[in-house]
């Protein structure tokens, strides 16, 4: 039973997936899509399994202080930090607002309404009615955003009408705060239900404390996750790939030897393709790109096709063996 049931399940799933290409019935497709969803869920669950496996393999080696154990500590710590930065900590216990509007003072028709921005972040930028950004904290010139933030809060007069105020940070990974102020008492209904009415003479204080996002969820990628991706993962990943140039040059020097006619042929073809691929080949002679194209289009394509067809036939044969229960190695059999 321990082998019969998995074999039976494998047979049914295999035959069913095979039939999907030939049976256009919608009911059949619905079941097939469920099966495919299972496959996607299993693939995602493999990440959890992989994480557990990494700990299982490396932790005992660290405990026993085996060779290169400090690297394993770095690896586990990095995985843990990256994993933790992917959790939406800012949303634990409910997401909080990034700002609010307070209206103070008494109305006075002859005095214009004023706006003051009190941002908790020194580098916050304020955009009023979609205009150019202004510094929430400035040194006398709020429009000079290329300068460092100053100590004066942004404060200006507001004309009668509806105004949109947006406070944001110049870096990704933070919430922005947007609000609408309607200045004047005799105006029509504001376009936004959440708008705040401000009478002439009153002071509208926009208090902003922009929430820092955590997590790796689009579109609000967390600050820490983004920073780690941009400043650790990206350069390390790119560096490993860039080192290939040196490894290839070293391997070319040490290993590419014309020991016999076949390897000499391979070397000759490699050199011709390398010359023909780059503009210097064309500059040396227009024949090189033509030779390169011929090698790629004729020799490479022919060989590749043969390999691909052979591999496809092999995959079909293996698939049939699994479906029919002849191949049992995936069940732990010899």
């Amino acid at each position: 039973m321990r082998t019969t049931l998995p074999l039976l399940l494998g047979f049914i799933a295999g035959v069913f997936a095979f039939g999907e290409l030939y049976i256009p019935a919608p009911e059949y497709r619905v079941v097939f899509e469920h099966l495919r969803d299972f496959a996607q869920i299993l693939a995602s669950a493999a990440f959890i399994l992989g994480g557990i496996n990494v700990v299982q393999v490396n932790y005992p080696k660290i405990r026993r202080r085996e060779e290169d154990w400090p690297y394993k500590v770095v690896m586990l710590a990095s995985a843990l930090i990256m994993g933790l930065s992917g959790v939406r900590w800012h949303a634990v216990g409910g997401e909080r607002e990034s700002g609010r509007v307070l209206v103070s003072g008494t109305a006075a028709a002859a005095v214009p309404a004023r706006l003051r921005v009190q941002a908790a972040d020194r580098d916050a930028l304020v955009v009023i009615d979609g205009g150019l950004p202004l510094r929430a904290w400035h040194d006398g010139e709020p429009g000079a955003i290329e300068r460092a933030p100053g100590s004066q809060p942004l404060e200006l007069d507001l004309a009668a009408g509806e105004h949109t105020i947006a406070v944001s940070k110049p870096v990704n990974g933070y919430a922005s705060y947007k609000t609408t102020l309607v200045v004047g008492t005799s105006l029509a209904e504001p376009t936004s239900a959440a708008a705040t009415r401000v009478a002439p003479g009153q002071l509208a204080t926009v208090e902003a404390d922009l929430v820092m996002y955590w997590g790796a969820q689009s579109p609000n990628l967390g600050r820490v996750f983004t920073w780690l991706y941009d400043h650790v993962f990206f350069p390390c990943n790119a560096t490993m790939f860039a080192l290939l140039a040196f490894f290839i040059a070293s391997a070319a020097f040490r290993a590419f030897r014309a020991r016999n006619a076949e390897s000499a042929l391979l070397l000759g073809a490699a050199i011709l393709v390398m010359i023909g691929l780059v503009p210097i080949g064309r500059a040396l002679s227009p024949v090189f790109p033509e030779i390169e194209e011929w090698i790629m289009d004729v020799l490479n394509t022919t060989g590749r096709r043969a390999i691909m067809m052979g591999a496809a036939l092999g995959a079909i044969a293996t698939g049939l063996r699994v479906i029919l229960g002849i191949e049992r190695s995936h069940l732990g059999a010899e």
């Binding site: 693939a43 995602s44 070293s250 070319a252 050199i271 503009p279």
Partner: protein, 296 residues
């Protein structure tokens, strides 16, 4: 005679770190002193370019960005060139990825090149149609990442909306987006553009989707993968293929905006010469050593 023996003996102990120095110089020097050799687009690259160029305004394209940061030097130049071309043609774009390491990179590219401008206004090096920013969820939509590799691509080929839980990456239901009207499977797109660094990528899209719905596809890949995908181009399953940085430079020339691939091609010129030199020099040492061993 003794002198010659010493010389060939010394060659046997050649320090390969000199190869690293030569490669380092081959990479660094052309960046400061470019050769600027002329680039001539090849047939595969021209085919990829004209396939995109044949799209009409309002056509819909799926752009699959299946890559990671390591492959950006080779693939980002093509991405930028083809994105400029798509925006110039006012084509609507649906973006997705099947690589878990891609989303933060793709989000940045979207902000810089789709919602922003690839060509800054007044750029003297560019003479073409202006590059206007696209509106999210109107001109383009970002579906995000789904794990499942071939299963995901197979899902896109049969039920694209279901594969992405019927919502865009920012949670907006796809049913609310005009850009997704009538899009059920990959076959409903006017073109699929793949920027692929490996598995899953071009090969899996062809295997799972191209044959099923005769989906028109063009792709860009790393240079090392080019020989693997060339047969698909020869068979007509791929309508164009841009393989590696040198081919991306050819694409940049066709699009009319010189970018990093053109500068990088100078590095390739010298880099390839260093590798060829290393092969020739390595064989020279090998044969002198063999001759010496036979004599002794």
């Amino acid at each position: 005679m003794a002198e010659r023996t010493d010389w060939s003996q010394r060659l046997q102990n050649f320090d390969r770190r000199w190869i690293f120095v030569a490669m380092g110089l081959a990479i660094a020097v052309p960046l400061f002193y470019p050769l600027n050799l002329p680039v001539e687009p090849s047939a595969m690259v021209k085919s990829a370019y004209y396939t995109v160029e044949s799209l009409k305004p309002g056509d819909r394209v799926l752009l699959s960005l299946d890559l990671d940061p390591a492959s950006t030097p080779e693939l980002e130049p093509y991405y930028r060139a083809v994105m400029l071309q798509l925006k110039r043609r006012r084509v609507r774009i649906v973006i997705a990825t099947t690589w878990y390491a891609a989303p933060p990179l793709v989000e940045r590219w979207i902000a810089e090149t789709v919602e922003g401008r690839i060509i800054k206004p007044g750029d003297p090096s560019y003479q073409g149609v202006p590059d206007d920013p696209y509106e999210r969820n109107e001109d383009f939509v970002w579906l995000g990442f789904r794990e499942g590799r071939e299963a995901t691509i197979n899902g896109m080929a049969t039920d694209l909306r279901g594969t992405f839980d019927n919502q865009a990456a920012n949670g907006i239901p796809l049913v609310q987006l005009d850009i997704m009207d009538g899009i059920r499977t990959l076959a409903d797109f006017d073109l699929v553009v793949m920027v692929s660094a490996g598995f899953p990528g071009i090969k899996e899209y062809i295997q799972q989707a191209q044959g099923r719905g005769n989906v028109p596809m063009v792709g860009a890949c790393t240079a090392v993968s080019t020989p693997e995908y060339t047969p698909y181009y020869s068979a007509g399953q791929l309508l164009g293929l841009v393989g590696g940085m040198s081919k991306a430079a050819e694409y940049e020339k066709l699009v009319g905006k010189i970018g990093t691939a053109t500068a990088g091609t100078d590095v390739l010129n010298f880099g390839h010469m260093v590798v060829i030199g290393a092969i020739v020099f390595g064989n020279f040492i090998y044969f002198t050593g063999r001759r010496r061993r036979r004599r002794s």
